[in-house]
């Protein structure tokens, strides 16, 4: 039996700044909580194709697993956790604006 599709978000880095970004229903956001949550595999494939086509905006598009806390996506792997927040030795990156 194929593995059930678990919730995902489309993520990438912004071409100009390099920031970690997430695909939303309307475009891109630097905040994971704004991300469009993908629960259907066919729809996820479609959104990946659309994201990957935006070569002048984004770099390195991929699907990242999330778990759902109500409607809020949370990273399931520590790497995605660091991407969502920033480095642990300085409050740089996204932490600067929190």
């Amino acid at each position: 039996m194929p593995k059930p599709f678990t919730p995902k978000v489309v993520t990438a880095n912004a071409l100009l700044e390099g920031d970690v970004i997430y695909q939303t229903t309307a475009g891109w956001s630097r905040d994971l909580k704004d991300a469009e949550i993908l629960t259907d595999e066919a729809h996820a494939d479609l959104r990946m194709i659309e994201a990957g086509a935006q070569v002048d905006l984004v770099v390195g598009v991929y699907l990242a697993d999330v778990s759902l806390d109500g409607d809020t996506p949370r990273p399931t792997h520590f790497r995605e956790d660091f991407r969502a927040t920033g480095p642990s030795n300085y409050a740089h990156g996204k932490q600067e604006h929190v």
Partner: protein, 559 residues
């Protein structure tokens, strides 16, 4: 210090203009990322976890004060006010914006610095002993030949798409401070009678398959060095495996084919290309050597040093720990620790860089070095000036007396920055240093090198740490493996894996058990951790690391 010629300036300006055009074409969409990536990597620009990263080469680790000031300016103008010095004598800026990178490269070019070939499958920044030209026992300064190799390898048309990256390190001393046996090619300057030449070592490397390099030639004369290097890289370029990234480094080529086979192939290739080397390279080397003439050392009053040493225990501790004997007995080599307890190993703020530049200008014959151990060196300081230097450093958080001690940790950026990492390195280094500072033990423990890598690629040199720590991802959790007994010096040794890994919470107590066990096991305070390990082997240290397992085994043996 090498001074750029008109050719060097023109080459760099043209290359930077070329990259500026490539960046513009990427931004306007004419280049895809697949097309742009190899171009940006050739110019030292990575895309990491949170941002771009620009890796700037500091050839053979040598800087003058003007260059260090420029590195400070760049950190403040285009980054977040700091830079990270790496184990390959590079500096990395962690937060540049793509649009700004061409301007950063132009700013670097103003002081004869660049980021060319700090990435990609090319010959990378040539590294050297950070005490070059100053060490008491040196045969010859390795920097002129390192500069010759930099010029030869930069934009070398045959070697822009090697099977994999290629790293060269040079030392001019019998004591190896450049880890030459863990490089694709390691060179050691040696003498045969009165003639200067090179011992050539190939096929060393750390990473997934750590190997100690093998001697290809015991003595290569100066005029034969470049054709020999060209023959080696040429043989590797054809023979090296391109089918498997993990088997593509020359260490695997040497391992699979055997050193005898490689030597024969290199001999054949050498015979073919040797006539192309007409001796121009030796004329260039002679000019480069003149640029690296020793400074005019002064003779002056040493009383300020002797007084401070007698009267200030903090200065005394720093002097005992951070100074190394200089070839001129009135002078000392100063190692400035970038490892303040609890701070990020290898990071310096713009202010700190500017201070070190100023000290080098005023007291240090305008020279600075970056060590592969991620510290900054003032190679030529008169002893009478040491107190002034120490108090200035201390005021900027640079007076830590810990060179070669347990808190002088090499750590790669790990998963806090690096896209390849499988776990974090920096917080582990910070916590170990903080813990041993609390214990006030590190001066009693003495020389002990801890080296931490956040993935199998081993940028943190964990295999050659007396205690090596490798961060891995085990089923979605950070896990840290310990290796013991590694050594990156002339007695190069790959460390032995101690056993199962530890979680992030367990690793600091595990290191503490290990160090306390050493204090119990050593014959006397003069026996270092590494000597004790070599005398006793893994078993007693393993018992300290895994007390529950050791307890079970002893109960089973008693039963």
């Amino acid at each position: 210090m090498y001074s750029y010629t008109e050719f060097d300036h023109a080459f760099l300006a043209e290359r930077n203009a070329q990259f500026r055009g490539q960046v513009e074409r990427r931004i306007d969409g004419s280049l895809t990322e697949d097309e742009f990536k190899p171009l940006r990597l050739m110019n030292g620009l990575y895309l990491q976890l949170h941002a771009y990263m620009l890796r700037v080469a500091i050839p053979y680790g040598t800087l003058n004060s003007r260059q260090m000031e420029k590195l400070a300016d760049i950190s403040e103008r285009w980054d977040k006010g700091y830079g990270h010095f790496t184990t390959r004598q590079n500096i990395q800026y962690n937060w540049p914006k793509l649009r700004d990178v061409p301007d950063m490269l132009d700013a670097l070019a103003e002081v004869n610095l660049h980021a060319i070939q700090t990435s990609g499958n090319t010959i990378r920044n040539v590294t050297a002993d950070h005490f070059a030209g100053a060490a008491a026992d040196e045969v010859a300064d390795p920097r002129p030949v390192a500069e010759l190799i930099r010029q030869w390898s930069t934009d070398h048309p045959e070697f822009q798409f090697l099977p994999r990256k290629f790293k060269v390190a040079v030392t001019g001393d019998t004591a190896d401070r450049a880890v030459i046996k863990a490089h694709d090619i390691g060179l050691r300057i040696v003498k045969r009678g009165e003639e200067i030449g090179y011992e050539v070592i190939v096929g060393g490397g750390l990473g997934r398959t750590p190997m100690i390099g093998k001697v290809l030639y015991e003595f290569v004369s100066q005029e034969d060095l470049l054709p020999t290097l060209e023959a080696i890289v040429s043989v590797y370029n054809l023979l090296g495996r391109r089918d498997n990234k993990y088997k593509a480094r020359i260490k695997i080529t040497v391992h699979e084919n055997g050193i005898e086979d490689i030597r024969q192939r290199v001999n054949e290739r050498y015979a073919l290309i040797r006539p192309q080397f007409s001796g121009v390279d030796q004329q260039m080397l002679a000019r480069i050597e003149a640029d690296f003439a020793a400074p005019e050392f002064k003779s002056a009053d040493q009383t300020p040093y002797l007084n401070a040493y007698d009267q200030d225990p903090l200065f005394r501790s720093w002097a005992d720990t951070n100074l190394t004997a200089h070839r001129n007995p009135e002078y000392a080599i100063v190692s400035i620790s970038l490892k303040a307890h609890g701070k990020t190993p290898g990071d310096a703020s713009g202010r700190q860089m500017r201070l070190m530049a100023g000290l080098a200008k005023r007291y240090g014959h305008d020279e600075l070095r970056i060590s592969h151990e991620q510290n900054v060196i003032l190679p030529h300081v008169h002893r009478g000036d040491l107190p002034s230097i120490y108090y200035a450093l201390k005021a900027e958080g640079l007076g830590t007396a810990n060179i070669g001690l347990i808190s002088d940790i090499i750590a790669c950026p790990g998963m806090d920055y690096c896209a390849l990492a499988t776990a974090r390195s920096i917080p582990i280094a910070q916590e170990i240093a903080t813990r041993f500072d609390e214990l006030k033990l590190e001066h009693d423990v003495g020389p002990l090198k801890i080296k931490i890598s956040g993935c199998i690629n081993a940028c943190g040199h964990h295999h050659v740490g007396h205690i090596g720590i490798l961060g891995l991802d085990r089923a979605g959790v950070e896990n840290y493996q310990i290796t013991l007994g590694g050594d990156g010096t002339e007695d190069a040794t790959i460390g032995e894996r101690a056993g199962p890994g530890f979680s992030a919470d367990e690793i600091i107590p595990a290191v503490e058990r290990l160090v306390l066990a050493y204090l119990d096991l050593r014959n006397d305070p003069a026996e270092t951790f590494l000597q004790t390990y070599r005398r006793l082997g893994l078993a007693p240290f393993k018992a300290a690391l895994y007390p529950q397992v050791a307890g079970k085994e002893s109960r089973a043996n008693a039963a």
